[in-house]
């Protein structure tokens, strides 16, 4: 009997331990996913911040460039750089036949003409001389140099030919290949060529969308929250508004995209693919988040504040505007920032309103077509070229960096400025 009891007790304790272990392993699993995730993104993405350059001697032959004696600035601007650019690449291998010359040309980006031109524009005295110029390597060679490209594949399955690899290895051996910090990733707009593609256009698109979203959602949400929390009578109608807000907060984001498409684009005829429409759509999405946060922080202001103000003869509007609202601002602001961070990461609604279009210029206003950072991630992730994989991860790193900064900022506002009432 006693023994039986002990066995039972042991069994119960074991069950207890098992249960505890389940809990621990659940937490462990969740954190493991997070770690794998972050690790994967960083390990594929960090190399995108480096860019491979080929150092190629270029002879600025006035004749080939169709330049006269003592050319003016405009002449240099309009000169023909294709021939000298081609020649300098072909000269890498003096014995190359025509096919091989073509392959040599494809070792650098199609931007190489412009890079040579910029060199001459910076220093017009180079005409007739030879100078070593940094040219952007093609994305495949860039990947080879970073070790991301399997060199042992059979040649016909590779986008880099054996011949290109041979010349490239020679260049590496001569120290004519250099890896530098990839500034163009931050300053270039999107491009079909991975080596030239940058996040500037989508970054500006995101900034504009978020600004539009902030300018619409913040005032409307704060005013709505003030009304619902401080002035609204308790009746059916305000209950209905409340149910509406709670439901909107849980409506899938893609439905807001359909709203943007069906109402903003089709009925109001706003310009497609622009951060303006994107921002309005996102503002409708963030509205409930901000309203809920603002109401919570209004509710947290103790009634004694209101009573004191009313007792001093302030009207209800004065009490609210002069005392309750300012005291609730820290909470409202941090809720707003969190809502904006959510909007910043949103993709699906923006795709539906056409912000997925290929944009190779940097937008200057919310009325210009643009992509946004998450949409850029989507566009690049759907591209087949290997060079885009690291770009996607790098773009994700930039986006996550932003989100983390915004969330930290929200935390700081909350902890620094929020009054604790107790």
């Amino acid at each position: 009997m006693n023994k039986n009891k002990e066995q039972l007790l042991n069994k119960r304790y074991k069950a207890e331990q098992r249960f505890r272990l389940y809990g621990q392993s659940a937490i462990f699993m969740a954190l493991l996913f997070l770690t794998i995730f972050i690790f994967k993104i960083f390990s594929t993405g960090y190399s995108a911040f480096q860019k491979t350059w080929l150092i190629v001697p270029v002879t600025f032959d006035a004749e080939l460039m169709m330049l006269e004696q003592n050319p003016s600035k405009e002449d240099i601007q309009d000169a023909d750089y294709y021939d000298i650019a081609l020649k300098s690449m072909a000269d890498l291998d003096p014995n190359a036949n025509e096919d091989q010359e073509n392959e040599l040309k494809r070792m650098v980006s199609y931007f190489f003409e412009k890079e040579i031109k910029n060199e001459l524009l910076n220093d017009p005295s180079l005409i007739g001389k030879t100078k070593e110029v940094y040219l952007t390597a093609s994305d495949d060679l860039d990947q080879v140099f970073k070790g991301n490209y399997p060199r042992d594949l059979p040649e016909d399955q590779r986008r880099v030919s054996d011949y290109q690899l041979k010349i490239f290895d020679q260049l590496v051996a001569n120290g004519k290949v250099e890896s530098k910090f990839n500034i163009s990733f931050f300053t270039n707009a999107d491009s079909r060529e991975a080596e030239l593609a940058g996040i500037a256009s989508s970054f500006m698109g995101s900034i504009f969308s978020i600004l539009v979203c902030l300018m619409i959602a913040f005032p409307v949400a704060v005013l709505a929250a003030i009304y619902l929390e401080e002035f609204a009578p308790k009746n059916r109608f305000t209950d209905f508004i409340e149910v509406n807000i709670n439901n909107l907060a849980a409506v899938p984001s893609i439905v807001f995209g359909l709203l943007g498409l069906g109402v903003l684009l089709a009925i109001f005829q706003l310009p497609r693919s622009t951060p303006l429409v994107g921002g309005i759509t996102l503002s409708l999405m963030t509205l409930p988040t901000i309203i809920i946060a603002a109401r919570a922080s209004l509710k947290a202001v103790p009634p004694s504040i209101r009573e004191a103000a009313l007792a001093m003869g302030a009207s209800r509007m004065q009490t609210t505007m002069h005392h309750t609202v300012p005291l609730s601002m820290p909470g409202t602001l941090s809720g707003t920032i969190i809502g904006l961070a959510q909007a910043l990461g949103e993709t699906a609604p923006l795709i539906l309103i056409g912000m997925v279009a290929f944009v190779n210029t940097i937008p200057g206003s919310p009325m210009d077509p643009a992509a946004s950072l998450p949409v850029q991630i989507y566009i690049w992730a759907e591209s087949a070229e290997r060079g885009f994989v690291e770009k996607v991860s790098a773009c994700i790193m930039v986006l996550l960096g932003f989100l983390i900064t915004m969330n930290l900022f929200a935390q700081i506002i909350r902890h620094k400025f929020e009054k604790k009432w107790s």
């Binding site: 505890r20 937490i27 969740a30 005013l223 509406n244 849980a250 359909l258 505007m321 994989v389």
Partner: protein, 461 residues
């Protein structure tokens, strides 16, 4: 022009605030008692100055293009043009008046371009005149009221109250907007495709509808077997099911652990870390699923002799499950912590271990809340878009094999609507019909979940 006028109105508003307040001081200096604080006199004047002007201004901006268009196209009204042709003529007219017209300029269009320009200039100048006279009239009225020292605080506060109330209608307006944008397209869709075919049809090939000539578009028989949504609905619930298989055990157990077992320190670090998972944009999960999990599962399957599609439902559902973990864990954590301590104490006093208390006392007590949180998680999973678009297939297979690719409502909406859309095309309308069903399903889930959670909260408060 509009911008200048707008700035002008704003500046006038500020100036009238200043003058209103100044007037209040003058009244005060005559030893009269003011009816409100001086700034209310300012607000009163400013509101009267700016608001009527803004209303006229925005009405003008809304109606001017339509009226100008009507007047310009009036010349063509008796010549038997179709609506589309008239629109084209109007576009040409506008392009010509901006000097951006490339093409043959006919005298007709030149004449309407001239008419367009003159109408526009008349409209502009009359707008300025009307807005200015409105401002003068309303300021004069308000100034008179101020001078006679009548009440200003009450009207100002009433106005503010009205503004606040209008803002609170935004949520309703958004809901109305959603329903409005979905319903017309959906109705048009069901005029062509019978509801029965949509709900019970098992073949979904919207691409088939796309290649057809638009002149045949209204023949309903050719769309039979094109818009059967069963594979889509099945795929949606299947992927959501896989996601919940990952999210419920992990999310629930971590919620329980954090609420009942974890020390303060563990809780302090683990909870925010898990919540990071909820803050990661879904497109990032999609990329992770497509680039890492999909190929990994394929390789794993091949090594075990299974045939796994690179875009499998398992990859998409699994990653989606990871995304939903924090929703379930933090909601169930909240729910469990709000179970009253007395229930725990009673159970411990009877000699139950901690896990027995959790399983037999706390869990049943918290069950409604937990169910609510799971329902919210399901609604998330059904509405999730980017993971499915990127990691699961886009072809709608009717399958229950997690290793094959399937498609979901959200993914189909994106597939159909990406790029240019032609409104009025059954394919575009199909996307809106799918959106409508998605909205209805998630709405029901949300309402039920929110109600369950609310009931539960009330029980212990």
């Amino acid at each position: 022009m509009n911008l200048i006028l707008f700035t002008f109105i704003v500046l006038l508003g500020f100036t009238s605030y200043y003058f209103g307040r100044k007037k209040a001081y003058t009244i005060q200096s005559t030893k009269k008692r003011l009816t409100a604080l001086p700034q209310f006199y300012g607000y009163y004047l400013a509101i009267w100055c700016a608001i009527p002007a803004f209303i006229i201004f925005s009405l003008w901006a809304i109606f001017e293009p339509t009226i100008v268009k009507l007047l310009v196209l009036n010349d063509y009204s008796n010549q038997g043009y179709l609506d589309d042709e008239l629109n084209l003529i109007y576009e040409k007219t506008k392009a010509l008046s901006r000097g951006q017209f490339t093409g043959e300029i006919t005298p007709f269009i030149e004449a309407s371009a001239e008419k367009y320009l003159s109408l526009r200039s008349i409209a502009q100048s009359s707008k300025v005149v009307i807005v200015l006279s409105i401002i003068i009239a309303s300021v004069a009225y308000a100034y008179k009221r101020i001078s006679s020292n009548s009440r200003t605080r009450e009207p100002v506060e009433k106005f503010l109250n009205a503004v606040l109330f209008t803002a609170s209608l935004a949520a309703i307006l958004t809901t109305v907007g959603i329903v409005f944008s979905l319903i017309f397209q959906t109705i048009d869709f069901f005029k062509v495709i019978p509801l029965f075919d949509f709900v019970f049809g098992t073949h979904w090939y919207p691409a088939k509808a796309f290649v057809r000539d638009s002149s045949e578009a209204l023949d309903p028989t050719m769309y039979s077997d094109t818009f059967g949504a069963v594979p889509i609905f099945a795929g949606t619930f299947f992927i959501a099911f896989i996601a919940m298989c990952v999210a419920i055990p992990i999310g629930l157990m971590s919620g329980i652990y954090l609420a009942e077992y974890a020390s303060y320190k563990v809780r302090q670090y683990a909870k925010p870390l898990i919540e990071i998972l909820a803050g990661i944009p879904t497109v990032v999960y999609g990329f992770f699923a497509a680039l890492t999990v999909g190929p990994f599962l394929k390789e794993l399957g091949t090594s075990m002799g299974l045939e796994v599609s690179a875009e499998s439902a398992l990859a998409a559902g699994g990653v989606m499950g990871i995304m939903i973990i924090p929703f379930i864990s933090s909601l169930s954590d909240d729910v469990i912590t709000s179970v009253p301590q007395s229930l725990r104490d009673g159970s411990y006093a009877m000699g139950a271990t901690k896990s027995e208390t959790i399983k037999r006392v706390i869990f049943p007590a918290a069950l409604p809340g937990i169910v609510g949180s799971i329902l919210l998680g399901v609604s998330r999973a059904i509405g999730e878009t980017m993971i499915v678009v990127m990691a699961s297939g886009l072809a709608a297979n009717l399958t229950l094999n997690p290793l094959e690719s399937t498609s979901t409502i959200t993914a189909q909406i994106v597939v159909i609507l990406i790029g240019d859309q032609a409104f009025g095309d059954p394919k575009t309308q199909a996307a809106f019909a799918l959106g409508m069903s998605l909205f209805l399903v998630t709405l029901c889930l949300n309402i039920v979940a929110l109600r369950v959670v609310k009931k539960y909260r009330e029980k212990y408060e």
